[in-house]
Amino acid sequence: MRRLNDFAVLMLDKRVSWASKLFFIIVVGAYIVLPIDLIPDIFLPFGIVDDGGVVMVAIAMFMRHVSGQIERQAIVSGAENNNIVTTDVESSMVTSDVVRDLLTDYPKTQQDIHNTPRASRNNFSCLALLAFLIVSPCIGIAILTLSGSAALSGMLSSVMNFIDPPAAVNIVSSRTIVHSLQGLGQLVTVSSEVAKADIQVSVNEGFLNAGSYSAKHVAVGVIEAGIDISTTNKDHVSYDSTTNTYTLRLPPPNITSCRIEHIDQYGGSLTLLPADWDLLRQLAQHDAIVQFAQDMIENGILERAKEEATLRLGDFIRALTGSQAHIEYEEGDGEAKLPPSCQPNPPAGWKKGEDGAWSRAD
C-alpha cells in the first residue's frame, strides 16, 4: 500500500515528465487489455493474476526510473547553486527508500551525484519493462500454439475484432407521404431486357474548358409494353353468330414502363478540379431510359406486345365463351405514348433543348 501511495504521488509530481507517465499508462494499459500476454487471459484465473503481477513490477520499475528524473533535476538546480544540491523534502511527501535516500542525503556535490550508481539504472528499468512487455505476448502465443491452434485462432480473431471490427452499415430514412393510388387497366404482355455499353458523358465547363470531365457507363434496363383495356366498352365488341366468333377491337399497344436495373460508371477522366460524377451517372441514366424506349420501339416491341395480347385475350375469350376470338387494333396516331417512367426528369439544374442538347437551367 505504501508503494502504491508513493506511486500515486510520483504520478502527480510535476518533476516527473509527462512522457514517462504516458509511457507507463499506454504500455501497461495495453498489456492489461490485450488478451495475449505471458499467460493468455483465456486461462482463468491465472490469465488475470499475471496481469496484476506485471502491473506491480511495472510500478516498481517506474519508480526507479522517475527517481532518476528527480535526481537529474536536482543536479541541474545544484549546478545553479555552486554545486550544492538541495531539495525540499517536506513538499514531496515521498516515503519510498529509493527516493528518501535521494532526498535525505542532500546537500551533495554535483560530483557525488554523478558517481551515484543509481543514475545508471534509470534507463535500464525503462528498457527492461518495454522488453518484457514485447516478449511476453510471444511467450503467450507459444503457449497457445502448444495448447491448440483453435484457441490461438480464436484469440487472434477476438483481438482483430477489437482493433478492426467487421464493417457495419447504418441506414436511416425519412418517412414517406404516399399521395394517392391510381387505377389502371394495363395488360402488360411483353418484357425486354436491354443493355447499352459505352455511354460516354462529358461535361465541358470552366475557363478554357479547364473544368471538363467525362466518364463511360454501362446501363442495363427493362422495357415493358402492353395494351390498355380500361377503355374498352360494348362498342368495341361484336359477335358473328355464323362463324361463332367474337371480335374485340383494342387500342394500339404502348410502352407501359421503363426502368434501369443498374448502371455502372468507369473510365473517368483525369481531373484536377472537383467533378460531379453522380451528375454524369444521372445524365447517362436519363439518356439510357429515353434511348432504350426508342430503340425497343424501333426493334418491334409494340408488334410483339400486340401478338402476345392477341394470344392472352384470345385464350381468355375462348375460355369464357367457348367461341372463337378475333382481336383487332385501332390505328395509332403514329407517336407512341410513353408513361412517366420512360420520361425521366432531367438532373437538377439542367435542361434539354429541343435539339437534344443539354444546358444549365436558368
Binding site: 467487421p166 394495363q186 395488360l187 458523358v201 465547363e205 360494348k234 434501369i260 447517362a284
Partner: protein, 258 residues
C-alpha cells in the same frame, strides 16, 4: 436710335449669357469633365460589355454536355401477362447510408440519397384459364376466379446521392447507392401496403374484369379472388439482388457476406 439701343441691349444680354456660362464653366470644371466622361462611357458601354461578354463566352462558355452512345443490345424479349390495375404516384424518401469499417472505424463514410419510386399492383393474367370460369345457372351469371392481387412492379424513378461525408482515400460510393436503392424499394413496398395497395388492386381488378366480361357476353359476372398467399411472390423489381459481397442477417442488419 431705338434700333441702336435694342442692339446694345441684345449685345449686353448675349454677353451676359456668355459670361454666365463662362463663369459657370470655370467654377464647375471638374463636374463638367466628369459628366462628359460618363456620357462617353455610357455611349460606348454597351458595345464594350457585349465585347467582354463575347470574349468571356469564348474563353469560358456556358457548361455543355455531350452524350454519345451506341444502339441498345436486346438481351431478352419474352411474353408475359400482367394485368396492372393500380399504381402509386411517385413518392420520395431520403435515405442516409453509412459504412463503418477499418481500424477504430477509420474508414467511416456516408452519403444521403434522394430516392423516388413507383409501385404497381395487379394480377397474373397468365393464370386465368378455362378452369377459372364457372357458370351459375341459378342466377344466370358467370363466376370468374382469379389469383389474388400482388405487387407487379417496383420502379425507382429517381436516385440522387448527396452530402458525401469527409473522407481520405477512395470510397465505394456506388455501394452506398446500391444499399440505398435496395433499402428504398423495401420501404416503398411497405409504404404502399400500409395504405392498402393490394385492396385497391382487388377493387380495380374486379371493376375492370367485371366490366370487360360484361361487355363481351352481356351477362353479369362475379369476380372472386383466390386466397392471398401468406408470403406472396415478389417480382424481380421488388426483390432486387443484394449488393455484391453483402448480405442481410435475420434481424435485417447488413454485413459482409462470409
Amino acid at each position: 436710335m431705338n434700333d441702336g439701343r435694342r442692339r446694345n441691349d441684345t449685345v449686353k444680354f448675349s454677353d451676359g449669357v456668355v459670361d454666365w456660362f463662362a463663369d459657370f464653366a470655370n467654377k464647375n470644371v471638374k463636374s463638367i469633365v466628369t459628366l462628359i466622361t460618363v456620357a462617353i462611357i455610357i455611349n460606348f458601354l454597351t458595345p464594350i460589355t457585349t465585347s467582354i461578354s463575347n470574349l468571356m463566352d469564348r474563353l469560358a462558355p456556358p457548361a455543355t454536355v455531350d452524350v454519345v452512345s451506341e444502339q441498345a443490345i436486346i438481351s431478352s424479349l419474352r411474353g408475359i401477362g400482367k394485368l396492372v390495375t393500380v399504381t402509386s404516384d411517385p413518392h420520395a424518401r431520403k435515405v442516409f447510408v453509412s459504412i463503418s469499417e477499418g481500424i477504430f472505424d477509420s474508414g467511416y463514410y456516408s452519403a444521403n440519397h434522394e430516392v423516388a419510386g413507383i409501385v404497381e399492383a395487379g394480377v397474373d393474367f397468365t393464370k386465368v384459364k378455362s378452369s377459372s370460369f364457372r357458370y351459375d345457372t341459378a342466377n344466370d351469371a358467370y363466376i370468374l376466379i382469379i389469383p389474388a392481387p400482388e405487387l407487379t412492379n417496383c420502379i425507382i424513378v429517381k436516385l440522387k446521392q448527396t452530402e458525401h461525408s469527409l473522407h481520405l482515400g477512395l470510397r465505394d460510393w456506388e455501394l452506398l447507392e446500391e444499399l440505398a436503392r435496395h433499402e428504398a424499394i423495401g420501404l416503398f413496398m411497405a409504404d404502399v401496403k400500409e395504405i392498402g395497395i393490394l385492396d385497391k388492386a382487388e377493387e380495380e381488378t374486379e371493376l375492370l374484369l367485371g366490366e370487360f366480361v360484361r361487355n363481351l357476353i352481356d351477362k353479369p359476372v362475379d369476380v372472386i379472388f383466390e386466397e392471398q398467399k401468406s408470403e406472396p411472390d415478389l417480382p424481380d423489381t421488388c426483390d432486387p439482388k443484394l449488393p455484391f459481397g453483402w448480405e442481410k442477417d435475420e434481424s435485417g442488419a447488413w454485413r459482409r457476406a462470409s
